[in-house]
Symmetry: C2
């Protein structure tokens, strides 16, 4: 059974919107899509300190789930060995928040299919869905780049723009279609 490794932040969880909300709370305005083209919110000159919010208890608990993610991950879970693999070890309070978040939004994920790590080179599988080119670059299998503001300029990987495109990719694979 093929193994699919799925990231959390910017793939399942809309951490960007959380940061945009934080930016508005802190600086009184919401950065535009144009400003965020190719960067993280905390890469904006005035917003570097926002990154520190990830160290706070609760930061990762109330992030929004991306549209269609629950339904599509459920479909993948039934026909593949799905693992949720998220970089978390920089932030000591993120573990319990991410764990409770998964339990709320994707309750069918068994605890043996969750991995909290800091360097994804250590995990192996057949497919990896991730928004970071650096994670895909170190992966032994096929990488799918989940579109996020910060990676719009990246090339070299099959891009998926939303969860319906992820669904279609794996449905096409199952039907033996070309997916290059």
């Amino acid at each position: 059974m093929p193994r699919i490794i799925i990231d959390m932040d910017e793939v399942l969880a809309d951490t960007y919107v959380k940061f945009i909300d934080l930016h508005e709370q802190r600086f009184g305005r919401r950065p535009s899509a144009e400003e965020l083209h190719g960067i993280k919110v905390y890469d904006l000159p005035e917003a570097a300190e926002l990154r520190k919010a990830m160290y706070d208890p609760g930061f990762f608990r109330d992030v929004a789930l991306f549209p269609d993610a629950a339904e599509v991950v459920r479909e993948l879970y039934d026909a593949h060995e799905v693992f949720i693999v998220t970089t978390a070890t920089e932030f000591r309070y993120s573990f319990i928040d991410k764990y409770n978040w998964l339990e709320e939004h994707l309750p069918f994920i068994h605890h043996t299919r969750i991995v909290f790590c800091g360097d994804k080179r250590i995990v192996h599988g057949d497919y990896m869905i991730d928004d970071k080119v650096s994670n895909l670059a170190g992966f032994n299998g096929t990488g799918l780049l989940f579109t996020s503001f910060h990676n719009v300029h990246a090339t070299g990987y099959r891009r998926v723009n939303n969860w319906l495109e992820v669904r279609d990719y794996f449905r096409a694979l199952a039907n033996g279609a070309e997916t290059a």
Copy 2:
């Protein structure tokens, strides 16, 4: 640089003694080495409920570090890509306890070298030091079986009985000696 994957419970952390202490607190006596030969403490007929203690906040925080572990892991860390990989995802409060435990006892371990998972088949490396045959059996590299009461009957893996034996194994490898 060879990658060494090191388990926590029964390898770095003496979880057995923690369970023996719990058994004494609960049942007023310490199980003998003979009773524990080949089993876990909570496999004793009267002690099945003790396993539930792992769900409690704090359980994994005050476990004792095995003798010589800090010095030997430090030596390995300097010449290998050492990762600490521990099954933790069954127990939601174990993450922060294990994280703080590592920070206290092995403060030189960078956060990118920590993995909390539930199924070690997903991690790859060159060497795995673990007390569970099931973990070694699913590993792509060379498994070293760290002796614990419960695994004394296990065969099929190079056995290491303590951290000085781990040190000697890798020193011999570095010197090009046979280690079969």
